[in-house]
Point group: none
Chain length 237, copies 2
DNA sequence: TGCCGTCTCACCATTTTTGGGGAGTTGGAA
DNA sequence: TTCCAACTCCCCAAAAATGGTGAGACGGCA
C-alpha cells in the first residue's frame, strides 16, 4: 500500500501539465475509493485554479454563486493548520447550510475531509476529499489515510506551483523595517496619528513609509496595502 | 521502517508539553542517525520558538547576533514551498558566508536540509536537519527520507501550534453577505465610492455595512476590520 | 568616492472617511 | 402575528487620509 502511494507520488512528480494533474487526481480517487477528490488553489482577487472530480456544473455553479465567500470549508481551513473533517466545521450560518444543501444536490458527498496548504507569498490552497458514507466509516478512512493524504496534498501543491508560476502573486520588494512597523500597527487598528506616536516619528515621516510600502506592494490605498502585506505573510497580526 | 515512523509520529501526537517535543526531536535524530535536527518557529515580531539538538551556546549566539536576518536558510525557505537542500541556497553575500563559517564553528554540519512550514495567520516555521558527510551521502539520505520528513515537520508544527496557542483568533459573529462583499472589495483596494458603485448601492448604505462589520469584528477602523476579516479567513483575497 | 536605500522632517489643498443623527422595506424565525 | 436581522436610503460637520513637492543625514556597497 505504501509502495503504491510511493508510485503515485512519483508519478505526480513527473507531471508536466495541468492534464497530468487531472489524471493523477482521478487515479488517486480510484485508488482510495472515494467519490471525489479536488485540489483547489484559492488565489488572489477571488480567482481560482484547481482540478478534481467534481461535476463541471457544480464547479461553475460554485464560481457563479461566489460560494467561495460562504463555504465553511474555505474559512475553516484558512484558520487551521491540520486537516479537518467537514463535520467539525461551523455550518451554523444560514448561508452555510444553504450552500451545503446545494452542494449535496450537485453530487458532493455527505462526508468530507480537507487539507489546508500554504505556500510562499500567502498562497493558499485546499486538497479535499468527499464521499457518501456513515460517520464511522469516514472517521476510520480519514484516520487511516490522513498522513498519506497530507503528503499527496503537499505534492499536488508543489506541482501546481511549478506549473502555474504566474498565479502566485509577484514577490514584491521586501519592506524596510520601518515600513513593516507601520503596516503592522495599521493592521491592528491604530490611526496614522497613533502609529506615528508609537513609532515616535512625525506623521509626515510615517506617511512616507506608508506611501513607499503601498508602492512596493502595488497597493491602491492603505487598506489595500495592509491587506496585501497580511496576505503575503509580510506582516503578522 | 515505516512502522517505526508511525510509532514516532503517534508518540508526537501524544506530546502535551514542550519537553515532550524536545524528547521527540532527540529520538528522531537518533533514529535517522543525523547530527542535528531542529524545529524553529519564526514569529512575525522577530520572536522565536523552537526545539532541537543544537548547542545552547549556538542558539543564543544566533539570537544575539540576529542571524535570523542573515541566515539564507530562513530567507530561502521563506520563498519556497518544497524542502530544500542547503547547498542550493544563495550563500553569495558576505554576511551569509560569515554566518556559515560561524555556524560550522559551533557544531552545525556542512550539510543541511530544511522544510518550510506555514500555518494560519502567516505563521512560519522551519524543520531542519544538519549533518557532516559528503554531498553524495547527503543527497541519498534526503532523497530517501524526504517524504517522511515532510510529515514529521507537519506534525511538529501541529504540536507547536497546539502548545503555543498565542495566535488563534477568537471567533466572532459571522458577517452578512453584503458585509462580506464590502470587506472583500475594500481588501482589494476599492475606495468606498467604488465599492458602492460595484455593489450598486448608495455610499450611505455601504457605510452601514462597513460600520456593522467593524462592530462585529471588534475593529477600530476600516483597515483594522479588513485585516481582522482576512486573518480570520472571513474573506479571502 | 559616489551612489543608493533608509530614515527623518515640512507645507499646501483636496478628497475621503468617519461619527452623530433618523427611517422605510423585506423575509424569515419565534 | 410579532419581532428581528438584513437591506436600503438620507443629512451634516468634523476628522483623517491623500497627492504633490522638497530636503537633509546616515550607512552600506562598489
Amino acid at each position: 500500500m505504501t509502495q503504491r502511494l510511493d508510485t503515485i507520488l512519483h508519478g505526480l512528480e513527473q507531471a508536466d501539465q495541468h492534464d497530468a494533474l487531472q489524471r493523477a487526481i482521478e487515479a488517486l480517487c480510484a485508488f482510495y475509493g472515494v467519490d471525489h477528490m479536488v485540489y483547489h488553489w484559492v488565489s488572489g482577487s477571488g480567482e481560482q485554479y484547481g482540478c478534481g472530480t467534481y461535476d463541471d456544473v457544480w464547479v461553475q455553479h460554485y464560481i457563479d454563486k461566489q460560494y467561495l465567500r460562504v463555504d465553511p470549508v474555505i474559512s475553516g481551513c484558512y484558520q487551521r493548520f491540520h486537516p479537518v473533517d467537514w463535520k467539525r466545521l461551523d455550518w451554523s450560518s444560514k448561508a452555510a447550510r444553504a450552500f451545503q444543501k446545494d452542494a449535496i444536490a450537485h453530487g458532493v458527498g455527505n462526508q468530507g475531509f480537507s487539507i489546508p496548504i500554504r505556500g510562499p507569498n500567502g498562497q493558499f490552497a485546499l486538497f479535499s476529499l468527499s464521499h457518501n458514507c456513515t460517520d464511522d466509516e469516514w472517521d476510520a478512512f480519514t484516520e487511516t489515510n490522513r498522513r498519506d493524504l497530507i503528503l499527496v496534498a503537499h505534492y499536488f501543491n508543489k506541482k501546481a506551483l511549478d506549473l502555474e508560476p504566474g498565479r502566485s502573486p509577484e514577490p514584491s520588494q521586501p519592506l524596510s523595517p520601518r515600513e513593516i512597523d507601520a503596516m503592522t500597527l495599521l493592521a491592528v487598528g491604530y490611526s496614522r496619528a497613533q502609529v506615528a506616536e508609537t513609532l515616535t516619528i512625525s506623521e509626515h515621516t510615517l506617511r512616507v513609509y506608508i506611501e513607499s510600502a503601498r508602492f512596493k506592494l502595488g497597493a491602491l490605498n492603505t487598506t489595500h496595502a495592509v491587506a496585501r502585506a497580511l496576505a503575503r505573510g509580510i506582516i503578522v497580526v
